[in-house]
């Protein structure tokens, strides 16, 4: 018990004193996950919009595929990407394995189906009159899409926050295609795994606190956003 208290004390000390190694890991995590979510959101929303408003065969099948992808374990995505990026793999020449780019690609693969599925649910629930109003008032197709997305912005923001929460807390992809290299690809989750395996709990607990605070902030913000959405509808 005393040892646990001491470790927690050390963890808090690391956080409060701004330990450079710890905070560089936190910054790297945010940098990778923010890049992934920013790159994923626009195409995922376009796909979600097309699935709601499109008139092409196979929409149900595509939706089923995206929904199935929601439950794919991150290590499977990591393994798939590893095979693709390894020197003998089809994209080996790009030399992306054990890089931040590989982590970003992996996180994109993880959150794309999440954003499509949640985006689809949100846009599908949008009032049909929005699209018709935009069209009848002469909006070009791209502005019609923007208008619909804007009208359901709170729901979409909730989807993006959910996706961000998922990718910043994943460990499988980052470990397999990032390689957990200190100062280069070590992020919060891989650092926690490593430090714990070494029996060094202080940094792991400190990073765990960061993730818990992030989860609390995201949940609070999500609740606020969902409240806004309820009000707007």
């Amino acid at each position: 018990m005393e040892g646990m208290l001491l470790t927690t004390q050390k963890a808090l000390h690391l956080l409060v004193t701004g330990d450079p190694e710890l905070w560089s890991i936190v910054m790297l995590s945010f940098s990778v996950s923010l890049k992934a979510i920013i790159l994923t959101t626009p195409p995922a929303m376009l796909v979600a919009y097309s699935l709601v408003n499109g008139n092409f065969p196979g929409i149900r099948i595509i939706l089923t595929v995206f929904n199935s992808l929601l439950s794919v374990p991150t290590v499977v995505i990591g393994l798939f990407l590893y095979v693709m990026l390894t020197r003998q793999g089809p994209f080996g020449d790009l030399k992306l394995l054990f890089s931040q780019t590989a982590m970003v690609i992996g996180q994109i693969l993880l959150c794309f189906p999440i954003l499509v599925a949640l985006g689809y649910a949100t846009i599908n629930a949008a009032d049909r009159r929005v699209r018709e109003t935009a069209i009848t008032l002469g909006a070009p197709w791209w502005f019609t899409i923007l208008t619909v997305l804007y009208e359901v912005r709170f729901g979409l923001l909730a989807a993006v926050l959910t996706g961000f929460g998922r990718i910043i807390s994943e460990v499988g992809i980052s470990m397999m295609v990032g390689g957990n290299i200190l100062g280069y690809t070590r992020n919060i989750t891989t650092a926690i795994a490593l430090e714990t395996s070494k029996g060094e709990f202080a940094q792991g607990i400190a990073l765990g606190i960061v993730l818990l605070v992030l989860a609390f902030v995201l949940t609070t913000f999500l609740t606020y956003v969902q409240g806004k959405q309820d009000m707007s509808t």
Binding site: R129, T133, I135, T136, L137, G138, A139, T147, S232
Partner: protein
């Protein structure tokens, strides 16, 4: 009667093996108002949406300058001249002013002209006082006037109104009727659907009834 502005011929709409519209012909005249009556589910809204290009017919032709064209090949080019208003119009997030100016963004007006047009339209509809109000917070009657103004500002040749007076109190109904009469006097062709034929005095020129997917 003057030359028709647009003629839609042979409109047919089948959905799940049910004929919603059967070989419907309808001509729209400038400065004339058509009342389309019929029971709920008689196909009034579907007909308006097909004319507006918001719903695809199973078959339809459009006659322009005496020549007949398929609905599919023509509707895109004439859609800008036709505005459809829902029974309960959808006002977008933002102020009354931003709603009224929405369609003008897609015209060639510069910012100054756009502002002046919006100001003129708001005064025309008696909405200047609520210009900065959030549109969605207004009463149903005022929201309907905002929707009329948002359509009027674009000067469409055809205005399609789906049950515009439903759920309106007498005062709002009179105000809406007054705006519609002014639009008609400016040469706009108006089509109104209603299952209550007595509501719009002095506005209707032609009355059609839709039953079993046919126009009488």
């Amino acid at each position: 009667m003057s030359e028709p502005l647009l003629v839609f011929r042979g409109i047919e709409k089948t959905f799940a093996e049910t004929n919603i519209l059967r070989n419907v012909d309808i001509s729209l005249y400038p400065g004339k108002c058509i009342l389309l009556s019929g029971n709920n589910g008689s196909g009034k809204t579907t007909l308006l949406k097909i004319i507006a290009g918001l719903e695809t017919p199973s078959r339809a032709e459009i006659e322009l300058s005496g020549k007949s064209h398929s609905w599919k090949s023509t509707i895109r080019s004439i859609r800008r001249e036709i505005i459809y208003l829902h029974q309960q119009p959808y006002l977008l997030s933002g102020t009354v002013e931003s709603n009224v100016s929405y369609g003008l963004r897609f015209t060639h007006l510069n910012r100054k002209q756009l502002r002046e047009s919006v100001k003129e339209a708001l005064e025309w509809a008696g909405l200047a006082d609520v210009a900065k109000h959030q549109a969605k917070t207004l009463s149903g009657g005022v929201q309907q006037r905002v929707a009329f103004t948002r359509a009027w500002i674009l000067k469409p040749k055809v205005l399609l109104l789906d049950e515009p007076m439903a759920n309106m109190d007498i005062e709002s109904r009179e105000q809406a009727c007054d705006l519609l009469k002014r639009m008609k006097s400016e040469g706009m062709s108006i089509v109104i659907t209603s299952h209550d034929t007595n509501i719009i005095d002095g506005l209707i020129d032609i009355h059609f009834s839709l039953s079993d997917g046919k126009l009488d």
